[in-house]
Amino acid sequence: MSTAAVTDKRGGSLSGARLPKWSPWAIAAGSVAVAVGIGLGAGLGSEVQWGLIAAILFVLGTYGVAARVEGRRQAKDRVATSLVWVAFLLAVVPLVSLVWTTVSRGVKVLDVHFLTHSMGIVADTETGGGIYHAIIGSLEQVGLATLIGAPIGVLTAVYLVEYGRGRLAQAVTFFVDVMTGIPSIVAGLFILSLMLILELDPFGFAGSLALAILMMPVVVRSTEEMLKLVPNELREASLALGVPKWRTILKVVLPTAIGGITTGVMLAIARIAGETAPVLLLVFGNPFINTDPFEGAQASLPLYIYQQYAAGGDAAYDRAWAASLTLIAFVMILNLVARGIARWKTPR
């Protein structure tokens, strides 16, 4: 077959020989078989080594076969394609593995009882208990942080895109960039130093303040990009109707960009929902239900996971995994909601 293919290629027509569609799978199967053979023969214990050998064999085999049948250019194309696939798999494998581990370990104790009870009368070594207090804490702290961070972030972005000129705008952009890089523990220490000066005990809202600091730069950046995407012609059309600038921004620019802005805010919320360090410093943690974010220590989901894992023991580990699953589900639901809003609000 390959001889005929080579003749075809030299015929000078536009259609050269092509490998059949199933050939990548055949090459993959062949290289896995050979790799297993080599692995068993050489006594290599680790499956990772087998996989690496199979991957190298696959790339070399693809190049060799394709170069022989289809020519060098197509062979390079196939190698590039397989490298892209390998990169994709490398990126997806940890994600799938993480979700799989969390789900399989998390469902063990995740039930209605777990979601509706606190750890108040349950010692960390016992079974039972739940995360109700942590969910309450997380929702309140993240909610308050969003109420502070999102409006300030969006308004800062509006300033930068619609009004900011010269020195001040440059300075704001610079500090937003710096803020993006602030480690969460530093934001926590900043608020903690204020609390020490004012001699305050840990409470939920202090955590919200630190989370808001972490959230703001993310919101500013994403909102800025979205506002820049709004065509200038729409602003001019509105101004030419005799609409004042602030009304143009409020009624034309922001509605046009609302889908993207919402997505940005949701992603920022997802980011701060998983922060542990500032909560540990400022909110302290509390096995009892405390619904008042302005008075007394609270729990939160990431902090709960940390404390349960630190406590050790099978019961605590199970609870930590179940809480992790809840946190991932929370973030995922937020992302889905954001995508839904973006799709619903995008002009068609």
Binding site: E236, A237, L241
Partner: protein, 258 residues
């Protein structure tokens, strides 16, 4: 209702770059005045100085006087927002608001300015769409998005949006350059109807269009490459196209330019 425009000694800058220099002209009410000239000679810049849209561009500033029925648009204490309510504008590319329906687009000027009566809104929208010769095509889908219309319909929608706020003057910056000949004809017919109610100024690269729709024509040109644009002459359209008083105008119109 339509108002006269008197421009004297107008010079416009982008930052330190002088775009147009020392332009003086009179635009008669209830007439169509066409601006023609090569690209980059400042026609659009000059048009945008007439409703203070020029200063929206960063670095844009203006020297000189623009009188709208004896009131200086650049006088002390004049609010650009109220100037733009008097002098409306239609842009080169149709730009309906993508988040709004056809109805909301036409009502946008009134709603965003906040000075309207709810009961009048339907009538004004219908009247404006009829005025823009678009009513029969869209009356059954007023709640559909404006971006779903064809290019020519979108441009007429933009004209309806501009005339809904009852301006005294309507500026049009190459309104047909993105449209096919049929839509262009529709807009030209519309201009002929609108000039009974508005003072119309139109920038165009299409000489036949200028000859067809306008009463007066102004020819702009650059003195030399890198120099600011200036007004060469303004006269009755018939005269500009048959017997212009400046040789450069005749060269440009007959295609012997450059």
């Amino acid at each position: 209702m339509a108002k006269r425009i008197d421009v004297s000694g107008l010079t416009a800058y982008y930052g330190s770059h002088k775009a147009i220099e020392d332009i003086s002209m009179t635009v008669e009410p209830r007439s169509v005045t066409a601006f023609i000239g090569p690209s980059g000679c400042g026609k659009s810049t000059f048009l945008r100085t007439l409703n203070r849209m020029h200063e929206v561009t960063p670095g844009g500033r203006v020297e000189g006087k623009v009188l709208l029925d004896a009131e200086d648009l650049y006088g002390a204490g004049v609010d650009p927002v109220s100037v733009r309510r008097e002098v409306g504008m239609v842009f080169q590319r149709p730009n309906p608001f993508p988040t709004m329906s056809i109805f909301d687009n036409v009502a946008a000027g009134l709603r965003l300015n906040g000075n309207y009566k709810k009961s009048e809104l339907n009538d004004i929208v219908e009247k404006s769409l009829k005025g823009a010769n678009l009513w029969n095509e869209v009356k059954d889908r007023l709640n559909k998005p404006g971006s779903g219309l064809s290019g020519g319909q979108q441009q007429r929608l933009c004209i309806a949006r501009a005339i809904a706020v009852e301006p005294k003057v309507l500026l049009m910056d190459e309104p047909c350059s993105a449209l096919d000949p049929i839509s262009t004809l529709a807009i030209e017919d519309l201009i002929g109807e609108l000039k009974d109610r508005f003072t119309i100024v139109i920038v165009t690269h299409n000489m036949q269009q200028a000859a067809r729709v306008s009463d007066r024509t102004a020819f702009f040109n650059l003195a030399a490459v890198g120099q600011p644009g200036r007004l060469v002459e303004i006269d009755d359209t018939e005269r500009i196209f048959s017997n212009p008083s400046v040789q450069a105008t005749e060269d440009y119109i007959s295609g012997r330019f450059g």
